[in-house]
Amino acid sequence: MTKITFVKHDGEKFEVDAENGTSVMNAAVDNLVPGIDADCGGECACATCHVYVDESWFKKVGGTNDAEEAIMSLNPDRQETSRLCCQVPVTDEMEGLVVRLPEFQF
């Protein structure tokens, strides 16, 4: 299990234990974290699991892949550390990961 923290735009924190091998999106959905709708179920096709990766984590998590970039580039509110969290796998490396939940997804 890997600890991940989701921080809502108003500061409220959701700390969850995520199962390795799933995605950060799954961790949010399985733990009823608000603001992660994940309409497409993890196919990188709906952009409703948008998160801002904490600056200090972004290097480790890495940038968007091509499919992700294609759909994300349509969003005027995307930031430099934006990711679709269905594309971010949960691994031991991610222990302590912090991501923020954008206001536009509420």
Partner: protein, 420 residues
């Protein structure tokens, strides 16, 4: 193919499992008007999930009918282009109406970004009280225990008022928006709203375009404000559009917000009547409304398909699609695919993951107004449940003659008040 042979191929009224698959053409509008289309799709899903129809009203085309394969097509816009159009019928010659739903990158994204703020969550929060007030106004004037047409009095009225609000269109003329949308999507015919393609073009050019041009000229000389025409008139990527592109994008937004919501509003009433146990559950648990709304949208699938055109040869689930081929992604069928959705033919208002359906499409062309549509439907059902014990369907619905816009021309109902 001669007319006589075409007649021979008509599938309406025939057993879906006895017609040879070579002759299968699920785009025949009679199937949808009679409400008998689903078993034909079921057979394709089972026996030929990526199926080539070698002749139809609109020429040869592929049908993609399984959820997973539709996702594959949606996720690959470079191979499956939205140009030149998103319906099986090709764009009308000499009528070069252009809209961003039928464009590829980068133009699609640039134009879409200009208008999507109107359906951003913050805009929706501002719109909700206005929508609720309009819905209350409509519901409060309906007769009790008396037959009337739900489609006309509620579904059309509500979506018409909504569109007039989003466009800041003269409110008393709002039915014109509904009318133009219907003109744009109706299949011409002797008994139809329009008799010919020429009539369609004529109405759009001589009525719709001048009306919108006038509003454009007015908005472009005012400071930018939050309505869609102002957004287009001031947007960096859209302010230099030619008249046909301007009208195209307006028609896209009108049609997008008209038929879809309208038919989901009518469909919901029908499905709850067909499934009284679900209506009981809803009355006992009105908090289920937000889950019920996506289920209504799945079950209705108000736009049955979108078309793509292959830009290169591509193998999809074992079938060789050739460059230039038309490909129909049948959302209606994917939404009934048991491999993706449990008990897909059942209408269940409290499904586990109700938003996992294809009605809005997926990928970069995914419906922009999905959350607005859900909000309108949610608020409508909240207000219905406050007022009426039952919206009772008292006769058969009249369905649309269209393989694209799946919905209702009439739905007779009576309202039962809540016992005091």
């Amino acid at each position: 193919m001669s007319v006589a042979e075409r007649e021979f191929n008509h599938m309406f009224g025939k057993d879906p499992y006895s017609i040879p698959l070579e002759g299968y053409d699920v785009s025949q509008p009679e199937l949808f008007m009679s409400g008998t289309e689903l078993p034909y799709f079921e057979r394709l899903r089972k026996e030929a999930p990526v199926h080539y129809c070698n002749d139809s009203e609109n020429g040869p085309y592929w049908s993609v009918t399984r959820y997973k394969d539709i996702m594959e097509v949606e996720s690959n816009p470079a191979v499956f282009s939205s140009e030149p159009g998103i319906t099986l019928a090709d764009p009308e010659p000499d009528f070069d109406i252009s809209m961003f739903i039928a464009m590829d990158e980068p133009k699609h994204g640039d134009q879409r970004k200009t208008v999507q703020d109107i359906v951003a969550p913050t805009s929706l929060a501002n719109l909700e009280p206005i929508i609720r007030e309009r819905i209350e106004g409509i519901l409060d004037t309906l007769p009790l225990n008396e037959t009337f047409d739900w489609v006309d009095k509620v579904s059309i009225e509500l979506t018409g008022q909504m569109l007039a609000t989003l466009f800041d269109f003269p409110f008393e003329q709002r039915r014109k928006l509904t009318y133009w949308s219907d003109v744009a999507t109706t299949i011409p015919g002797p008994d139809a709203l329009i008799q010919s393609i020429e009539e369609r073009q004529n109405i759009l050019l001589t009525e719709c375009l001048p009306a919108f041009t006038e509003l454009w000229n007015q908005r472009v000389n005012e400071p930018p404000k939050g309505d869609l025409i102002s957004m287009l008139a001031h947007g960096k990527e859209t302010r230099d559009m030619g008249p046909m592109e301007f009208m195209g994008n307006l028609m896209l937004l009108i049609i997008g917000g008209n038929d879809t919501t309208r038919n989901s509003l009518s469909g919901g009433v029908l499905f709850l009547n067909q499934n009284p146990d679900q209506y009981d559950k809803l009355r006992a648990h009105p908090e289920l409304i937000p889950k019920m709304i996506p289920e209504i949208i799945r079950y209705q699938t108000p736009l049955t398909h979108m078309r793509r055109t292959a830009t290169e040869d591509y193998t999809l689930n074992g079938q060789n699609i050739k460059k230039g081929d038309k490909v129909a992604m049948w959302f209606l069928s994917g939404n009934r695919d048991p491999e993706a959705i449990e008990n897909p033919d059942d209408f269940i208002i409290d499904r586990e993951r109700p938003r996992q359906h294809l009605s809005f499409g997926f990928g970069i062309h995914r419906c922009m107004g999905n959350r607005l549509a859900e909000m309108q439907l949610r608020v409508t059902w909240e207000e219905i449940l406050k007022r009426f014990e039952k919206v009772e369907v008292v006769g058969d619905p009249v369905r649309n003659y269209s393989p694209f816009v799946r919905g209702y021309a009439e739905l007779p109902v009576q309202l039962r008040p809540i016992a005091k």
